[in-house]
Subunit: 237 residues, 4 copies
């Protein structure tokens, strides 16, 4: 009888987060991946690459070293986007979980190479300001180390624009799609649900108004601070 994995609870949670993406309609076929980090033990758990969600078991979830990016436990290859998760976990210590999807409307904004302006309170409740769009990777960056550089360009964007990843829990990569994050895997999933909803509403708003809209700053502040920070009064104590 094999020893039980020391990561079984983490893997179980990451499996659930990945299955939730499917249930919420954010993932088609095998597109998309969720991970969660355990900073004390220096690892993150991530979906295996190209495996069907219908048959995925918690033991298929791959454990990766936060230090080296190498597989620590698991017989399958990690998601091909694992290096992007790795870069983000290393650069942003507040991240507990990361999700990548090809959800329809968020991808559409990414393909249009447009950030999503804050057009209303649904957006402002979770994202402080626009959902940002990074610069395009160069040909060299893509050919040298595509997935690593996808992470680096996100870090570069947040650093240069002085964005706090806790206040802006997601980003769009041009021609590609969204990454979101949160306190843990399931929280990152929640933020990917919100991002997709916000992307839908923003597209509709563009079409109805015939132009982009922007909520006033004091409304954005009110909604974000109603839910976040010391003065928050949304939800239970």
């Amino acid at each position: 009888m094999p020893d039980k994995s020391p990561y079984s609870e983490l893997k179980e949670r990451v499996l659930e987060a990945n299955l939730k993406l499917v249930k919420e309609g954010l993932v088609v076929l095998t597109w998309g991946n969720a991970s969660e980090v355990d900073r004390e033990r220096g690892v993150y758990a991530i979906k295996p690459s190209g495996v069907s969600y219908e048959t995925m078991k918690s033991d298929d979830i791959v454990i990766v070293s936060l230090e080296t990016g190498e597989v620590v436990e698991g017989s399958l290859r990690p998601s091909s986007d694992s290096p992007t998760h790795h870069v983000l976990y290393k650069a942003f210590p507040s991240l507990g979980g990361i999700v990548h999807t090809h959800s329809e409307k968020a991808v559409s904004w990414a393909q249009a190479n447009r950030e999503i302006p804050c057009m209303g309170t649904t957006h402002a409740d979770t994202f402080y300001g626009s959902v940002p769009l990074t610069r395009r990777l160069t040909e060299k960056e893509i050919n040298d180390a595509y997935e690593v550089n996808s992470g680096k360009v996100i870090v570069e964007h947040f650093t240069e624009k002085k964005l706090n990843p806790e206040h802006v829990p997601g980003v769009l990569l041009p021609f590609h799609g969204p990454f979101t994050w949160g306190k843990n895997g399931m929280d990152a999933v929640k933020n990917s649900i919100i991002l997709e909803e916000v992307a839908k509403m923003a597209m509709n708003t563009l079409l109805i108004a015939g132009k982009s809209m922007e909520a006033p700053d004091y409304l954005k502040d009110k909604h974000f601070l109603r839910k976040h920070g010391p003065g928050a009064y949304y939800g239970q104590k």
Copy 2:
């Protein structure tokens, strides 16, 4: 053994109304809330703030005093939008139930800062004239008492425009979203379903016609009066 709550039936109905919002796809995550008033006993029952619909029980529903706006029964915080409900119940004696959602298409019109013109009979059957859009709250109104002032600006709009809330069972707040109401909680839910459907059709119509459309007044009158008032002949006697 605890005494049974005197409000248990009211709470049961409000729970059902809230769950119906989820079932109809009008609510994502914990966004949205339904309430119902009992004017004889001077209270309304409302969803608790930020609680998952999957685990919500009727005992989580909060009873609030119509007089003071204070919690009368329940261990959880009421919805953060409770003060808006409170203002509306006080100002409009005909209201029996109120619903707030972030339903996709109604929010999109709100974000576009446009009222929804009556483009056809689906709209005219329930809303007499446009689904109105209030003015924007000022920075001061938002910072002083956001939720109370969200209610007040609705009342101001209906008063100034001489709108009858029984004939116009809903409204849009700019950059935010819809409030609807009705004879009771479930009737308010029904009107939020109708508003979302009307908002979808109006957006499509804009895109197909390339401009806004407006049904003739005599068609609006016919459809509204077929369903409402002494000459109504839709439905059973």
Copy 3:
């Protein structure tokens, strides 16, 4: 023990047709109605007005005289659109079933006051030429006998344009929505499914092409005649 209704099979079929509309997502709340005619016995069966689909039983279906338009059997009021069905059954002897819905995309074209041009083979397989749009009713026609005149304006359109209702199994009423028909109730439901699908695709095509498209006549002929008439070879013999 009461005598069994002589119309029980007809009522059963009409109940099924109405429930199919809900299952296919063409009907919200109580909007929409399906009927089927029995020309030998001189009656048609139709949904009652404003009754919930969730509790509707076959005995709620109302039997109406084709001669007089009066109720022959049933304790509930027939659909408020019953006079429209009546006019159509009288004018078009080939009709076996009629459906009216407020399906989202077909209503959107009706609200835009535009017929749906034949943009491709999905359309041409069932509708020979455009899905027509009648003229608007006058104020007098609406106030005098709205539902009867809704039927009459359809008949007027088909007569003036020399359209064969067997080749064009549906129509749009301006600012209102679609009526479809077929060999029986379920066939009319099938044509309302097709009309909604065709309306979706035509709207998308407008948006993608930036203008209306029109399939060549020889492609329209080919597809329609592949399925209809003596040379048809689609389906089983």
Copy 4:
């Protein structure tokens, strides 16, 4: 007791592929068909024409000779599109399965007479370059042998443009809709799911950006080659 069909496994797989189309929402009513070829035995199995998916059994699947296009086994008529499948299997030896649908968004691009440009990585992962659009068939081609010529014009397009059907697993026919293919029937279904998703995103992108977008060639190459060819590293070994 009848002899068991030598094609029972093939028919079972083709039934499953056809039912998967319905489950994925790519097919309405009886529109669409999937087939799979067995090149060793010189036959392909295809859906019967106009049969309801709800009652279809594996014995309804029709076996057609790859040599002659004639039915080899089965009592029902093959899909009316069978000659198109036949032409494609003969011309492209790498094809193992073929699917035709009237999926909403792919049809909309076909009706707009526009190829789908590669606007991002979701597209580039599966289609190398645009999803092509063939030229329109002439009146003579349509009247002489519509379904055969639908296949021939696809072959003509791929030949003239030097497209490899393994790298471009689908195509649009003007005013009609998509054909996709793959290693087997289920793989062709998978590519029809992807095509519909890509068509949705491309339409949204057009509307958000106000113009067509095109991913840079090095990003297209990276994504396609990450999944295909000797250097592929997506999925499991």
